[in-house]
Symmetry: D2
Subunit: 131 residues, 4 copies
Amino acid sequence: MSEILKYQVRVFYEDTDFSGYVYHANYLKYCERARSDYLRVIGVDQNAMFAEGQAFVVRKMECEFLRPAKFEDVLDVETRLIEMSGARFELAQMVRRGADEIFSAKVTVAIIGPSGRPQRIPSDLAQKFSR
Amino acid sequence: MSEILKYQVRVFYEDTDFSGYVYHANYLKYCERARSDYLRVIGVDQNAMFAEGQAFVVRKMECEFLRPAKFEDVLDVETRLIEMSGARFELAQMVRRGADEIFSAKVTVAIIGPSGRPQRIPSDLAQKFSR
Amino acid sequence: MSEILKYQVRVFYEDTDFSGYVYHANYLKYCERARSDYLRVIGVDQNAMFAEGQAFVVRKMECEFLRPAKFEDVLDVETRLIEMSGARFELAQMVRRGADEIFSAKVTVAIIGPSGRPQRIPSDLAQKFSR
Amino acid sequence: MSEILKYQVRVFYEDTDFSGYVYHANYLKYCERARSDYLRVIGVDQNAMFAEGQAFVVRKMECEFLRPAKFEDVLDVETRLIEMSGARFELAQMVRRGADEIFSAKVTVAIIGPSGRPQRIPSDLAQKFSR
């Protein structure tokens, strides 16, 4: 479960603000793209889940903004599953520019069912994450 | 039909980019907020429409970026219905900072039904726009 | 220092995603708007600070996503200064829809100077926050 | 000058709205990413230009929203230079999903100098576009 998946993003105009650097909330977008990519890689079809009334929802994020990134930077978003238990996933995500640490987050994700209530992680899904 | 509705926005960090000014695509967000406000003011409930499978969709926008706006600017978005015919609305929108013209757009909006196809403007809706 | 400042936002199309609810990263935008409003209310001119090479930067955010918000919801963002010490501010922010708690965050903000390095909170600024 | 450059994007949560489809203003972001990519490919360094007080600014966009795109769609953004004259570039951009046309835009871009005023296209820049 400690495998790290990398996802690359480039910083565009839309990501920056007038300070000259990436707007802080946009690191959460980068991390969400990386998590969606992670799911695709392990074979989870979010559209199919959604059609059955299931969805992943973020419950908690502990974010640290470590260094600024700027226009045209190429960033790596690393995603690592830390724990999977009951109805929750714990992920560690890190945005790097080469060796520099830019942003880190500890993310808690739950699965909700058709009722909108959290539900236990289905076993076929758990297997995809465990591989 | 030539009444002008005004909606005010303030420029926040999120709206700007590293050039120091408002990111061009964000004027479309301001215009969409002003159109949603316009609908609310004339008594159109978009959530209720959506629950019945109806939605407004933007078909065309002719945009002119006239002057830059910057952080903390207070902008007025003016919305005016130009024409309503068959299945389409034509709107003129202008973003101003005091007397300065910042952004203008001519917007064509259609209504789509449950099938995803455009449909004629329902008469009760047309009446709300005509008042 | 325990006074709570309220800032109101309305949920527009741009804020939601295909799940039907507000996209998680957008609560950080709401909180940033509320902090910018807070600064304006206590008399801090961020454009003037920026012209002197100073800026507020977010260092940490501990975020909890408590309930979903949806299109057309009217939300209150409450901001409260918890602590101000050396070069850091600690703020508590809560997004509510009426009595419902939607999103909460503990935010650590620093001031950086022309070198890009953190600097002690200037005394005139500290006074504005203390009033 | 009629060469077409392709840039690929994937639709993430952040790009969609509660209608279930891509939020209309986000096609302008996709087009801007594709233009930035285009500039990089022909050897234009926007950071270096910006350091000398020069920047590209969008003056006009004529946008047509042809078909909706949805979560996880993979889209191609095609960019083609139509004309370059005096201080202006005319570009045609098309967002496709396979054979389907999703969004098209005719974009007018100018170069502004340190004064914030439009300036003639520098000859070295014109050469990069002409190759």
